[in-house]
Symmetry: C2
Subunit: 424 residues, 2 copies
């Protein structure tokens, strides 16, 4: 358990008074480190007190400052082409409300100039077709998009996440590339693997018996094991979604807000047309999704709920954004990340039978151990050496530091990795 | 839009400076009124700043004060027999994580001493049986339990809530009693209606082709039109769930935390055995569910997510609870509610062709207008008379004031209702 009164910056203190360099950061959630001065100052602002004390139902009685908060916190960094934002409570419900928007859009296109029929209205009240249509969200093996019923159907990480929970059995999923490292030594193989995955994805799109309203993909499969693919793969996916009239949702819940060295992870792809929806949470402290204006429902109250997100967290997002910009934190991430990755390659070369597949962008880095057991033991050793981190996938260690992680912190981390490797 | 700097107590001020008595309260969400002194004081406490600034992943790195917060905010008012609490972000995800717990429990019972099989583990990764089983949550016509994929399947209020969204088509639903008012003049008819609904529910339980893991029911169907049933009906339901080995989930998202004149709406039923799960949100500011200890999953990380609720809102729940207890607010609700209901009966008798079916418990009151159009016009007239309220169901006006709604506020409301009725 954490002693939040003593934790500071990149360092977390437990209840026994032990200090750890925290590169796991509340599952990749803390953007500015423990007890950030900027967030402390914002915490007692009159706006924050207002929003805390008078929890508003943003869809029916928004406070006067809500429109400007949306502008300052979110629209100021909206991905190119996405001129609207929908606020939500967490990553799972961001993805799920985005799925709902995709389904509504799909059906509206299908209807064209016609209205929903009486049968549509009556059948949906019984959860029956045609009002409750059989439509799918396409996802990838190894993808993680949340753990509620719709999002869990699109999650394919660990069986224990999914076991015993009913799922939408007709929603299709497709393999995600499993690249070999180091990349420069496996270029041809990896190209082939990505081409194979694109071909399978297109086959699944063509042969889907349940129409696919949207595809969801992470810029880096995070929970699934830090699985990467090239910009060319994602451009290929975008082309397929355009060709088959499927919306493209980019899940930036873990990659968004800086850790990859871009504000949004998908910026690195240079897509020829922007994705239709980009979802966010974690490091923004607030959650939601950006979207094209065409994806607004045609009637009020269709994609709706009581709170529609939390303005307290939106005010914090504004502070996070201000800190990122005023302190050039994305540049810090890119520089510290490049340094750390380079040094990790050095450790990989020193312990080639233990550490492999050093990979990542910015400080969103990972490496593999030979087995799950060795990975788990390695994480425990790192902890005994004063570094708190976590695993992902079957045998990866992942680095998920704050945006204020600097070279001096990287050195503490690297020293611990080197020491841990020498002990294993 | 609301001017939160000027709104105070039971009165909300809009951006044009107009003041309204607010008996709708951010969709039944505000417990203590605008700019509550207690919540303002709590907003700048060191604990609140800690929790705001260092947003924790409660399942992996809980702050030291979390255990005590759970005790003080939630367990101090746990419904009888429910010794555990699971925290969540909002009403929808409270219900959905409760459904997940019910499904896991159902499958564990089914397996008995056996473990999940290799086939269970591999099939769930493909969203296929047997690992992703075809199991149902049973719900009621007119019920509202949220708008994500699982919760929306159990919601049966307005078609626009459900249209175009895929649903679990095998989840069964059953009619909820539609009582006639005044109750004392329709006793025999209403008894018959409740017996009919229980009989249909039992038929559906017996004949379900998809096994039912749990039933979910609101103490008062709120969004669905303030539909009530007698304690005997709910005792009958409890008996059926026991007989057919189905868990009973009581959705107290809107009825919980005082507005019915009990802390929990279901207390009024005097059930012979407590429900298995009680969900909450809205007036508690924080969300989650209480449950029997047997419903804990058998392994870590099964019912899990990054944030697992928001400790900021949990700290506020503690303040809400303290205010309720120190100011005897439940008693205030019961007394003000009884007075208001009695006066509404007077207005009902004065305008018998316009206003009917005055009903409710505590200040959780409603009445009907002849048509949807007349109801909508009536709500608009009330607003022009300085009262902000809302509709529910097809033709009901509902009262959802704060717990600090007193006789003097009730008089303002009653005067406006009388004036509005005289104009219609």
């Amino acid at each position: 358990m954490t002693d939040l009164t003593k934790s500071i910056g990149n360092y977390v203190v437990d209840l026994d008074g032990n200090t750890y360099l925290d590169v796991y950061c509340q599952i990749s959630s803390l953007p500015l480190g423990y007890n950030s001065r900027a967030l402390i100052d914002a915490a007692s602002s009159p706006e924050m007190i207002q929003m805390l004390v008078n929890r508003p139902a943003l869809g029916v009685q928004p406070p006067g400052l809500w429109a400007k908060t949306l502008e300052d916190a979110f629209m100021a960094v909206a991905p190119k082409g996405l001129t609207q934002v929908f606020t939500a409570m967490c990553g799972s419900c961001s993805n799920e409300t985005a799925y709902k928007a995709a389904f509504m859009f799909h059906q509206r296109k299908k209807r064209g100039a016609s209205s929903a029929t009486e049968e549509d209205f009556t059948s949906c009240m019984r959860n029956a077709k045609p009002g409750s249509p059989d439509l799918a969200i396409m996802s990838f093996e190894g993808g993680f998009h949340g753990r509620l019923f719709g999002s869990l159907t699109t999650t394919h990480t660990k069986a224990l996440h999914k076991l015993d929970i009913p799922a939408f059995s007709s929603w299709v999923h497709s393999p995600f590339p499993r690249l070999k490292y180091p990349l420069d030594k496996h270029q041809a193989e990896n190209d082939k693997e990505e081409a194979r995955c694109l071909a399978v994805a297109e086959e699944k799109m063509k042969n889907a018996t349940t129409p696919i309203a949207a595809l969801i993909v992470e810029p880096i499969q995070s929970e699934g094991g830090d699985n990467h693919a090239s910009p060319r793969f994602f451009q290929g996916l975008r082309d397929l979604t355009k060709k088959h009239d499927i919306l493209m949702i980019v899940d930036e819940v873990q990659t968004g807000v800086g850790p990859t060295g871009n504000f949004w992870g998908h910026e690195a792809w240079n897509l020829t047309s922007p994705p239709d929806i980009v979802t966010f949470s974690k490091k923004f402290l607030a959650a939601g999704w950006f979207h094209r204006p065409e994806l607004r429902p045609d009637t009020s109250y269709r994609n709706f709920n009581t709170w529609l997100g939390d303005p307290v967290r939106a005010l914090q997002a504004k502070t996070v954004l201000h800190e990122i910009q005023s302190k050039d934190l994305i540049k810090n991430v890119a520089e510290t990340g490049a340094y750390t990755k380079n040094e990790l390659h050095g450790i990989e070369n020193k312990y080639p039978s233990l550490i492999s597949a050093v990979r990542g962008r910015g400080t969103f880095l990972a490496f593999d151990l030979p087995t799950t057991e060795e990975r788990d033991a390695f994480v425990t050793t790192l902890r005994s050496l004063g570094v708190n981190t976590g695993g992902c996938g079957a045998r990866s260690v992942r680095l998920r530091p704050m945006l204020v992680f600097q070279k001096k912190h990287a050195d503490v981390f690297l020293d611990a990795v080197d020491k841990a490797a020498s002990k294993h």
